[in-house]
């Protein structure tokens, strides 16, 4: 592995010089990332790349030589040889030896990547059309839980016909979220990946891997980031309409900053729980509801509530949103099987769900009862 790393470093230096003048955006090569895993993946990538280049030089070199010198216009007369057992054996055995040489480091890297034992903490990652939910299962921060969606500013700008100049967001366009995943540096973090609706894939290139999040199954992966920083990625498995708008942002914080963040989260969760127990005014519910609606519902049902029928029905004037509160709560909480309507039971907290339901029942000309957080709590 040492020699491999050295080779990779040399090649990086070489590529670096070769393309030093290139603008950063004209990126050519894989990112080396910030973990030991991503570095060994990068090393493997560079080795197999150079092996391919070497074979390419030999094969294409022979072809080009032949095309230049063995042409009829140069008076070449065709030889008539057409087989050679020793050549056939040679070019069967040599590639096998190269492949065995490749398989050895690949195997050891793979085994290391799949070893999720001895983790310091565990985070459950749930893919939901089209956001990620993070539950801190054990270790420091256990109990923290939140949903991470595309940042509202980006979400607005990416709509067809928004007319927004998306370049103002820079390289983080579509890779910015409302609530990033925060992990401590220097700790082995184990991820449990699953999904609520369709298959997603959780990928941050700087961590060196992606893993599918599959409904009904739990996959494992791990990382250890030593440098504090912000690392961005996206969902990598086609998961429906807004697959391209499902970013991942990981913020690695030094342990003491991480502890501070956990304390903040716990405080916010308590405030949130307390707010669910009090009576809300209609204005409060409507204001909060519009915000929640735009993050969670507008992608399909549209900001004007008209939806995109028949796949995504209109909420404005719908019998459910203007009818019985219990049926409306049940639909949003449990989703609708066989359609893209997801279950929001674990996505929205009591106050948020009450607010968004109230908003749906009273916006765009709808006029139905308001729903208090207490009703949601009771319905769970």
């Amino acid at each position: 592995m040492r020699a491999m790393h050295k080779l990779a470093v040399t090649t990086t230096a070489f590529l670096g010089t070769a393309f030093a003048s290139a603008h950063a955006d004209w990126a050519l090569n894989m990112r080396q990332g910030v973990t030991e895993t991503s570095q060994s993946v990068y090393d493997l990538h560079m080795i197999i790349f150079w092996v391919c280049c070497a074979i390419g030089v030999v094969v294409f070199g022979a072809m080009i030589y032949s095309m230049l010198y063995h042409r009829k216009s140069k008076g070449a007369v065709a030889a008539q040889f057409h087989e050679s057992t020793s050549m056939e054996i040679l070019w069967t055995v040599v590639p096998i030896i190269i492949l065995v040489g490749m398989a050895i480091p690949a195997t050891s890297t793979l085994l290391a990547m799949e070893d999720t034992g001895d983790a310091d903490m565990t985070i459950k990652v749930t893919g939901i059309q089209w956001k990620w939910k993070y539950d801190y299962v054990d270790g420091e921060g256990a109990g923290v839980s939140f949903v991470s969606s595309l940042h509202p500013d980006h979400n607005e700008a990416r709509m067809v016909g928004s007319g927004a100049d998306v370049t103002k967001f820079g390289d983080s366009y579509l890779m910015e979220v409302d609530n990033p995943l925060v992990i401590p540096t220097g700790k082995k973090v184990r991820f449990l990946l699953t999904a609520a609706d369709v298959i997603h894939s959780w990928w941050v290139p700087d961590l060196g891997w992606k893993k599918d999040a599959i409904p009904g199954f739990v996959n494992e992966a791990w990382t250890q980031v030593d440098e504090p920083g912000t690392y961005r990625g996206k969902c990598a498995e086609l998961c429906g309409k807004d697959h391209g708008f499902m970013p991942i942002v990981v913020v690695a914080k030094a342990p003491e900053d991480y502890a501070k963040w956990v304390a903040e989260q716990k405080g916010a969760a308590e405030a949130e729980a307390a707010s669910a127990d009090r009576e809300w005014t209609t204005d409060e519910l409507m204001a909060k509801g519009e915000q929640v609606y735009n993050t969670n519902c507008a992608a399909c049902h549209q900001a004007n509530g008209q939806g995109l029928p028949p796949t995504f029905p209109s909420i404005a004037g719908s019998p459910i949103a203007t009818g019985d509160a219990a049926a409306h709560i049940s639909l949003v909480m449990n989703g609708k099987a066989g359609t893209a309507m997801a279950a929001y039971r674990d996505v929205l907290k009591d106050a948020d769900m009450a607010a968004v339901l109230t908003y749906q029942r009273n916006a765009w000309g709808n006029a139905a009862s308001i729903i208090q957080p207490a009703a949601i709590k009771a319905a769970r």
Partner: protein, 526 residues
């Protein structure tokens, strides 16, 4: 020439019916071959138009032209149309035209089934394309149809499934016909190991099709019952497993990849010796390599799904098995290079496309080898690196071989030479633009751009623009190919029976164009 005239007179008696009914009721291998090839050409432009929509939306960041759902249906249907509508029917068309002429037979063994297997296809693809006009739109869950996502499709879903069934039935019937023809209609003296490589590769391809198409049919039928009959094959909530679909799909899908490339190997193995004026190097090793690739294709499927969370032993097995494929594929490339070596080469358009194939298919092979390394695949998987990889093997691989075949055999089929200047121009414009189109996609994937996204972060802008420009040039330059085909059918300099100085094989002993019933008497095999 006297024999040619004699056979020409002869086919007035058994010649084709006149008008439209000739094409509807034909049982002639050449007519059906022509139908297949023209159908494939039309589908090539239909799928190509979808690719143009994709590249136009990706020309710059931000959403300009289409909504994300429609974008997803473009990527999905582009793939389905190109694979099942363009490349596979084109190869079947070539098989129909060439296999009887190459083995000295009068026609295919099962002519009525031949007619039926073609005429299913226009219906299958009308069904598929009609889903765009149904509630919920066209399929948008990817051509791989992974559940649960594919089950979210609207009213068009059963039409999609039925279209796949029909295309599959057509392929199976075509394959049975190929197998029966090759095994039963060779003249005395033509042993299996004397067959041209195109016939060999198609024989093996036909077996792959017969073995895997029913697997696909089973998988999509299970999707259908999951959607409508309350089964839970792929739903964890009902005790099923969404990953099981992927295993079944790729058990079909990986052999399918070789179905799309083995006939190409056969075409290139016919063209390179002709223009090198030297026999194919290592004929028997080519046959064994093809058979090895076909065998290996059945035990590597899960390399398409390294990230689903298989047991590590499974990942290791599929990584090793996949790496092994490089060996027989390498043997083929080495044999082609050795065939060129010390030849007396000329570079007419078919040879240019064949050499383009060897070089660019090998580049696709290299990225394939990189993708085989499971830990590295965890980074490459589902990115534009994969998109670049399979377009190198499918466009500059399979499609280039079909172009090469068209230039190589059109003079034989029509009796007219194509326009060499136009052909060379088509080759060079295509080759430059296709590399501008697909090579930068390697960089995009490595830099972290996932595939199947309609919009992207600003740092991916530059290469996407370059790629789109290449895409537009490549797309529109294919109109030159359509024009070339039209012009050659219409007329042109008369082709000799031999057509190419170095050509060898039974098809070149027939007149150009060949008689309606290729070989009425079994030819003598030396």
């Amino acid at each position: 020439m006297s024999t040619a005239t004699a056979t020409h007179d002869d086919h007035h008696d058994h010649g084709p019916a006149k008008g439209l009914m000739r094409w509807v009721t034909t049982t002639n291998h050449k007519d059906i071959g022509t139908l297949y090839l023209l159908f494939a050409l039309v589908m090539f432009f239909v799928g190509g138009a979808m690719a143009m929509v994709i590249r136009a939306e990706l020309f710059q960041p931000g959403m300009q032209l289409v909504d994300p759902q429609f974008f997803n249906s473009m990527t999905t249907v582009h793939a389905l149309v190109m694979i099942f509508g363009a490349v596979m029917p084109a190869f079947t068309g070539l098989a129909n035209w060439l296999i009887p002429m190459m083995i000295g037979a009068p026609d295919m063994a099962l002519p009525r089934m031949n007619n039926f297997s073609f005429w299913i296809l226009p219906f299958a693809f009308s069904l598929l394309l009609s889903t765009f006009f149904m509630a919920g739109g066209g399929p948008a869950g990817g051509w791989t149809l992974y559940p649960p996502l594919s089950l979210q499709m609207g009213d068009g879903f059963p039409f999609l499934i039925f279209a796949i069934h029909l295309a599959g039935i057509s392929s199976i019937m075509g394959s049975i016909n190929v197998v029966v023809t090759i095994l039963n209609m060779r003249p005395p003296g033509m042993t299996l190991m004397k067959m041209p490589l195109f016939v060999w590769t198609w024989l093996i391809t036909a077996y792959l099709l017969i073995a895997t198409m029913p697997v696909l049919a089973g998988a999509v039928t299970m999707l259908l019952t999951d959607k409508f009959a309350g089964t839970s094959f792929f739903s964890a909530a009902g005790g099923g497993d969404p990953v099981m679909f992927q295993h079944i799909f790729w058990f079909f899908g990986h052999p399918e990849v070789y179905i799309l490339i083995l006939p190409a190997f056969g075409i290139v193995s016919a063209i390179v010796p002709t223009f090198a004026r030297k026999p194919l190097f290592g004929y028997s090793s080519m046959v064994y390599a093809t058979a090895s690739i076909a065998f290996l294709s059945f035990i590597v499927w899960a390399h398409h799904m390294f990230t689903v969370g298989m047991p590590v032993v499974g990942e290791l097995f599929f990584m090793y098995a996949t790496m092994m494929i490089a060996v027989p594929t390498g043997v083929k490339v080495f044999n082609w290079v050795s065939t060129m070596w010390k030849g007396s080469m000329t570079f007419e358009t078919p040879m240019l496309f064949a050499i383009g194939f060897i070089i660019m298919f090998t580049i696709g092979g290299f990225s394939g080898l990189m993708l085989a390394i499971a830990p590295a695949d965890f980074q490459y998987h589902d990115t534009y690196f994969v998109v670049a990889h399979f377009h190198y093997v499918l466009v500059t691989g399979a499609v280039y071989s079909i172009m090469a075949a068209a230039y190589y055999w059109l003079p034989k089929w029509t009796g007219n030479m194509y326009d060499e200047k136009l052909g060379k121009m088509h080759f060079w414009i295509s080759t430059i633009s296709v590399n501008v189109l697909f090579f930068p996609q390697h960089f995009l994937g490595l830099a972290g751009m996932p595939r199947r996204i309609p919009d992207y972060s600003i740092q991916f802008t530059d290469w996407n623009m370059i790629s789109s420009i290449g895409g537009f040039v490549f797309g529109f330059s294919q109109l030159m190919f359509a024009y070339m085909v039209y012009k050659t059918i219409k007329g042109g300099e008369k082709a000799t029976d031999q057509v190419w100085e170095g050509a060898d094989g039974l098809e070149w002993t027939l007149s150009s164009p060949p008689p309606y019933h290729s070989f009425t008497d079994a030819p003598e095999i030396k």
